[in-house]
């Protein structure tokens, strides 16, 4: 069973989807797609058991603080920031 990195946003439609696409690209770059996969959901639906690592934006950090292994992004668009923080979390 692959480990899941889940992007979370307010509606589960726009921002989290985009972050998930970035996560998937980065997982490919890092060559770990056999161990990890990305997905996304909304803040209302998510629970701490849905994934191994969570990703959200700075403005939602407080509302998402109950999620374990949370990556908080200063910029949802910055792939470098996302890559660094994912590498930290998966110990690369």
């Amino acid at each position: 069973m692959k480990k899941i990195i889940m992007a979370v946003c307010g509606s589960g439609l726009g921002s989290s989807f985009m972050v998930e696409m970035n996560v998937t690209e980065i997982l490919k770059e890092l060559g770990v797609t056999d161990q990890y996969e990305g997905c996304h959901t909304s803040l209302a639906d998510v629970t701490g058991m849905d994934a191994d690592i969570f990703v959200t934006g700075l403005d939602l950090a407080d509302s998402a603080s109950h999620l374990p292994n949370l990556i908080v992004l200063n910029s949802l668009l910055d792939k470098d920031e996302l890559r660094e923080k994912i590498k930290e979390k998966i110990n690369l």
Binding site: G10, L13, G14, S15, F17, A44, G57, D59, S63, S75
Partner: protein, 458 residues
């Protein structure tokens, strides 16, 4: 043979089937495996059916609202909410919506390819809602068949490119780079807020240097904000209509306050269902769109959902919502005084459009730009829908409508032009707009070439 043809047509006149076929084709083009194809196609189709089922829930809760409002205030009250009005419209306009959305995305790719405006609109739910509104407007004034799909798709493609384009000067300021654009429903408001900031904001400090209570951040959760505001609205309206009226005519004797509260929560429930349905459909469509467009349009800029800029100015988000909402309330009273349809401030549009307008206004004019920019947005999205309702056909008498700036502006444009010069005339105008964009692209490219050639000679 006729029997088989009929089965074929029956199949394809179900929007859920059309969506399934489109997803299937997209997946085949990307050479996905059989299990992925089956899974994705089915999920997209189920998603569409979820939206259609949710329509019943929404209508069931909105009808009593309309009746109570009319009884209490003797005037029509409309609550703008994209999800609600789309769910209601899909029943009658599902097929053109699915087709216009698909060909609209193809039009987006085409326009980005042949002009210098290389924006690919990736906010799928906005594309879907726009396709729906365009279908309603064009079908209501009599357009049919291939003419309908061609015109609708061209209109949608143009909006998907022009909206991000007018905002880009300010997006560059906000994000510090030119590689990402904004694809949302209030582009005209955001660009306007950016200009307003330039005018009123000299010397004004940034919103981020203020102390703004973070407690209003919970309004990011649409389910919470809708439940709260609807509960308040429904109860006010029930009181206005009167205990007697409600319990005799609508609630079958149940206590009128309890009834109002349950209806409000039912509306929220419908909203959640629609969001989930939309998510199921888009999960299968947007990745394909992104993949195909990046192959066909090199140097394309993704136009993404508005919350991507919220982290750049979190205080502006809160300030923008409040300012826009105040604008909405003021407008509501003015509309009432003028005897027009009352556009009740919808918390979801005022939150997202107000917040984004404020981030734009702040980037050019600090806190003054943010406050004025979002206040103006609040007024715009309260007044424009009044002009939009008449072109929405029988949807114009529903209790919910589209209020977001780009929706209202393009809807009014399409409806009015078609009214003045007919359907074929409208198609001509749209082709004309595209032609201007292509010509402008060629002209400005030649100018660049001339300038650099001149520089070499010098």
């Amino acid at each position: 043979m006729n029997g088989i043809l009929k089965v074929f047509v029956d199949f394809l006149s179900q929007p859920a089937i059309i969506i399934g076929v489109i997803v299937l084709v997209g997946l085949l083009l990307q050479k996905k495996s059989v299990d992925v194809i089956i899974k994705s196609t089915l999920k997209a189709m189920v998603g569409f059916v979820v939206i259609q089922a949710a329509a019943g829930v929404i209508v069931g809760s909105l009808n009593p609202f309309g009746i109570m409002f009319q009884q209490g205030f003797h005037i029509s009250g409309v609550i703008p909410n994209n999800e609600a009005v789309v769910a209601m419209a899909l029943k009658e306009y599902g097929t053109p919506t699915a087709l216009i959305m698909t060909f609209g995305m193809i039009a987006n790719i085409f326009i980005a390819r042949v002009t210098k405006y290389k924006y690919i609109f990736l906010t799928g739910h906005i594309t879907l809602y726009l396709a729906c509104m365009i279908s309603v407007i064009l079908v209501s004034s009599g357009m049919t068949g291939i003419h309908l799909i061609f015109t609708g798709s061209l209109a949608l493609g143009l909006i998907m490119v022009i909206s991000p384009a007018i905002q880009q000067p300010f997006m560059k300021k906000i994000t510090g780079n030119d590689s990402v654009a904004l694809g949302h429903s209030g582009g005209a408001s955001y660009a306007l807020a950016g200009y307003i900031g330039k005018i009123v904001g000299k010397g004004s400090k940034s919103t981020e240097e203020m102390n703004v209570p973070k407690s209003l951040g919970f309004l990011r959760d649409s389910v919470v904000s809708i439940s709260l505001t609807m509960a308040i609205l429904y109860i006010i309206v029930a009181i206005a209509a009167g205990k007697e009226f409600v319990e005799t005519n609508i609630s079958s004797g149940n206590n009128f306050i309890v009834y109002a509260l349950i209806q409000a929560l039912t509306f929220s429930a419908g909203f959640i269902l629609i969001q989930n349905g939309v998510r199921l459909v888009l999960n299968e469509i947007v990745p394909a769109f992104k993949g195909i467009s990046s192959k066909l349009v090199p140097n394309s800029k993704p136009a993404l959902d508005c919350p991507i800029i919220f982290p750049y100015a979190p205080n502006a988000v809160i300030i923008g919502f409040i300012s826009s909402f105040v604008g909405g309330i003021v407008s509501m009273f003015v509309l009432g005084a003028m005897g027009l349809v009352i556009i009740i401030p919808g918390v979801v549009p005022h939150f997202f459009l107000g917040a984004t307008s404020a981030v734009f206004g702040n980037s050019t004019g600090g806190r003054r730009g943010a406050i004025v920019g979002s206040f103006v947005n609040g007024i715009i999205i309260s007044f424009l829908p009044v002009a939009l309702l008449p072109v929405l056909g029988n949807l114009g008498i529903a209790n919910s409508t589209f209020s977001d700036t780009d929706f209202a502006l393009s809807g009014i444009f399409l409806g009015k032009v078609q009214g003045f010069i007919g359907g074929v005339g409208l198609t001509g105008v749209l082709i004309g707009i595209l032609a201007i964009m292509v010509i402008w692209t060629v002209v400005t490219k030649n100018k660049k070439v001339d300038d650099s050639a001149q520089a070499e000679v010098d």
